[in-house]
Symmetry: C2
């Protein structure tokens, strides 16, 4: 199967699983806002990383799917809160009005909160399909990657860095937390589906870290070179918000070279895993680095 066919197939399975994992029912508005925030858009990069890694280590898609859904819920909640007026005040996301524009700020706040809880609930299916010890390891990876030592910590640094002249080390550290931690955790959650040697685990972790940073460098490049209709969100907003980016720091050509170097690093880390079936992970790294939105 070629990469695009694989991508389409995984996408379909993820969309279905996400729809099933999200609540419907009594608290009508809340559930609607949660579903609106998650369903019907997005590249699903994090779920794809979970599933591709699970496949690389020989685990089934069915086993890994709760982890794939959970990381996407965390990502979606972070976008909902990040778009709110007190944060980035953004009105467009994935080509649609943002959640607070559509449902109001209070519902957006609650929907984000409920999505975070739903992510952990999703890691703990009541039907016994996931061993409790695996659920617990997933929960730990996801909690650390989401909290003060991960995504939320990175966003706090981002908040406090507006207008500051961060150097490349500080900018890299911010992005390793803000977006890198969850991308890396996606890889590690897939890897945790089986028992792996420390060497294999560490090589996959290096792959996740390099890919996570490459993703952000490319994001900064696209913020300058793409337009809103391609991106599905407001373009040029980092510059407008006076936020430091890899492009503002290094210039466009150097930023592109940096992204390519990180791609090489990801590929090399994969080679060091010694795993036979890393083709999809290899292709996902290419996809992240060469995307146009």
């Amino acid at each position: 199967m070629d990469f695009n066919a694989w991508l389409a197939q995984q996408h379909t399975e993820v969309e279905l699983a996400l729809s099933r994992a999200l609540p419907e029912g009594s608290s009508a508005d809340l559930c609607q806002a949660m579903r609106y925030a998650v369903l019907g858009g997005g590249k699903r990069l994090r779920p794809l990383l979970v599933l591709a890694t699970a496949q690389a280590v020989g685990a089934s898609t069915a086993l890994a799917m709760p982890a794939a859904c959970a990381v996407e819920m965390i990502h979606a909640y972070s976008l909902v809160h990040d778009d709110m007026p007190c944060m980035d005040n953004d009105v467009l996301r994935r080509g649609k009005p943002t959640v607070h524009v559509r449902f109001g700020q209070a519902s957006a706040l609650l929907a984000g909160d409920a999505l975070q809880a739903q992510a952990f609930e999703t890691l703990l299916p009541e039907d016994g399909s996931v061993p409790l010890t695996l659920s617990a390891r997933w929960c730990r990876l996801l909690a650390v990657a989401s909290g003060a030592r991960g995504m939320a910590g990175g966003q706090a640094i981002d908040l406090s860095s507006v207008g500051l002249a961060l150097d490349q080390t500080a900018l890299t550290q911010m992005h390793r937390l803000k977006t890198g931690a969850l991308l890396q955790a996606s890889v590690m959650m897939g890897a945790t589906c089986v028992e792996l040697s420390d060497a294999k685990t560490q090589a996959l972790s290096r792959y996740g870290a390099a890919l996570g940073l490459a993703f952000q460098v490319v994001d900064d490049i696209l913020d300058v070179t793409a337009n809103a209709s391609t991106l599905g969100k407001t373009a040029g907003k980092d510059a407008a918000n006076d936020k430091p980016t890899f492009v503002s720091l290094m210039g466009l050509t150097q930023a592109q070279a940096h992204a390519n170097a990180l791609l090489d690093e990801a590929h090399q880390a994969l080679a060091h895993t010694g795993l036979p079936a890393v083709e999809r992970l290899h292709q996902l790294a290419d996809w992240v680095t060469r995307r146009s939105h």
Copy 2:
């Protein structure tokens, strides 16, 4: 040991454990806001319920402490977000300026988000002091109680009920989710520390449900009868916000009688557990129902 001495002792242990469980360090502002939101105030009812239940089923305080800290972090994050301008817009909490007043809205939003993640991380200590299967069961109880089928779902109903004439059934359902779910989960997380019979588990669950609802009825009574300096938060705000309460629905005398009936129900459920050492749980129910703030 009398109840007040027990209370003081547990309080001291909980404060110390919370302080240790909360991050300090690099993301300075975020960690400060998280610590400000959790430390130095609050009745600690939820941790006390976890610990008293653990003691009642014969588990150690040390084993149950991560669960005690985690429920309090969830409670604290919900207050931070609930106080924000787009929700209740409250400026005073536990006698101090609310988190968004002190740190700004964006930091309050992030601190709440990070506290929720921290709660789950706290349930999964890396030192192996809690069996992974117990951590997983705690995570499931906490996630369900916090999310769309619990606290966040109740808050969504609360939001949409301003100005509406809810009947007692609808009001009860709202509060069972909004505050009851987490109080009941506190009891169940303590109970989960050991293997219990279904009958004992169900009796403890009924105790938690009755106590949870009693707590809210008393809250509604205090909102009318107490003043801000006693409450440590703005008094009379439910009436001012045109929110339905047990007092607005039943009148003060009937609401008080309802609280007493729920206290009896809690005591009876405890008797049905057949557990020998339920004295602290009995006293906690009294404490909740007879408190002045």
